[in-house]
Every structure is written in structure tokens, then in C-alpha cells.
Amino acid sequence: MASAELRASQEYLGREEALRLLGSHLVGRIAVVVQGWPMIFPVNLHVLDSDTIVFRSEEVWRLTNPRCAISMALEADGIDAAGRLWSVVVTGAGREIVPVERARLRDLGLESPAGGHEDYWIQIRPETVTGRRFGWLEWSTA
């Protein structure tokens, strides 16, 4: 049987760098509590103004009703140009992006390429940002 072992050094990232990594990445996962249950949904995300995360999700919208601020967590991970693994976790209140603010998203080219639905845009202002970066992956096969 093949086995892989990660001998990694773990480095915590500052808020700015963590959000920068997040901004370089397209896909994340949103976790929300729905009637006491934790649920996770993959989303396409964008970071605006260095510190506001925006995404569009009909499912998250329907399940949480973000017209009121809803507690959300976001996770994204990837591999940077140097081959190091990173992960960023953000928590904060998610709320709807009202139509007047959506005009700005259109200017930034963030509206859905599919067109049609303009709804379901949600933004998170991060309260906590935890970023970690791991050293080289060392795979061993036995």
C-alpha cells in the first residue's frame, strides 16, 4: 500500500498576506449553520478593497436569508508559486449586497457570466483571519 507523509513546518500568516492569498484564489468554501446543522458550499469568491470577500450563491442565500447579518466561515487553500501549501480561514458576518452596491460589482466585471440572475450576492467583512503556510511536501511511498 502506498503511504505519504508530510513533514511540514507550519507558519502563521498575517491578516494582510492571508487576504492577499485568498484574493489570488477563485474557489473557497462557505460554512454556515442551518437550523443547528453545519453546512459547507463551494463558491467562487473575490476579494474587494483588500478586505471584503464577495461571492454569489443561491443556496447559501436561500438557506440563511442574509438580509440580516449571518455568521459565516470561509476556507480556501492552494499551492503557491514556490510549491508550498497554504490555507486561509475567515470568519465574519455575511450579508446581502444590496442592488445599489451591485452596480460596482458590474463595473469590476464580477457579475455572473451567465447573466440573468442578479441576486444572491453576499459579502463578508472578516472578523478573524487565520492563514497558515506549510513547508515542502515530502512524499514517501512504501
Partner: protein
């Protein structure tokens, strides 16, 4: 195609879960969702992974209801899938089970991963997303 989403049958969900090693786990802490990346293995019908002292181990010792998610996507083509499994997290403490799990090829993210936890799958669902034709 209405929105490009299709439900995956349970068997395909389990196959996708079995074929991956990196997932995310969501737990509820004081009413709010927390989410963590974990390296895992599907051991029969259980998702198993390693962890240290902290939120995940606390959740396991409390038998908390958690959700485990695995996905893959191709942003270029707007395609992908995701599988979500729910169950109660358990700390593995039986010596025989621990011994068996320690031989499994599972590594922890970053730190040691001194403790083994498992989530017997109580329910599972999955979706596949196909490209939505572009409006012209």
C-alpha cells in the same frame, strides 16, 4: 439545463469521497460555523482523520454533529462537483482501532495529529455543476 446543477447518486458520492485525500470539516462552535481543511481517508463508511487538541478534538469528544465536504472544480470551464456528508464526530480511543488506524496512510495538516477521529457517515449528498450556456 436550468442552472447546470445535477444531483449525484449516493454510490457516486462515496466513490468520489474515497478517491480524494483533502476535504473540509465544518463544526458549530457557540452557534457559529467553523471550517477546517483536513487530510482524510474513507475507512469503510467512516471519514477518518488526525488532529491535535483544539476545536476538532473537542467536537469529537462531545460527539458533535459535523459536516464533511469534498469538491473539485475547473474555474476555466465552470464545471465541478461537491459532496457533503454529515454525521457525529467521534474520538477513536479503542486500542485495537487506534493501532489499526495508525497504519493507515493519513497525515495531519501542519502539526503532529496525535489524535484520531472518525465520522461515521449518517447521510451523504452530492452535486455536479456543468457549464451554463452563456447568454448572448
Amino acid at each position: 439545463m436550468v442552472n447546470g446543477l445535477s444531483e449525484l447518486p449516493e454510490r457516486e458520492c462515496l466513490e468520489l469521497l474515497a478517491a480524494r485525500v483533502l476535504g473540509r470539516i465544518a463544526v458549530v462552535v457557540e452557534g457559529a460555523a467553523r471550517v477546517f481543511p483536513v487530510n482524510y481517508l474513507l475507512d469503510g463508511q467512516d471519514v477518518v482523520f488526525r488532529t491535535d487538541e483544539g476545536t476538532k478534538l473537542d467536537a469529537a469528544q462531545a460527539g458533535a454533529l459535523v459536516t464533511f465536504e469534498v469538491d473539485d472544480s475547473d474555474p476555466l470551464y465552470h464545471t465541478g462537483w461537491s459532496v457533503m456528508a454529515c454525521g457525529h464526530l467521534e474520538a477513536v480511543t479503542e486500542p485495537h482501532e487506534l493501532h489499526r488506524m495508525q497504519s493507515l496512510p493519513v497525515r495531519a495538516w501542519g502539526r503532529e495529529g496525535q489524535h484520531w477521529v472518525r465520522m461515521p457517515i449518517a447521510s451523504i449528498s452530492g452535486r455536479r455543476i456543468k457549464a451554463v450556456p452563456k447568454a448572448t
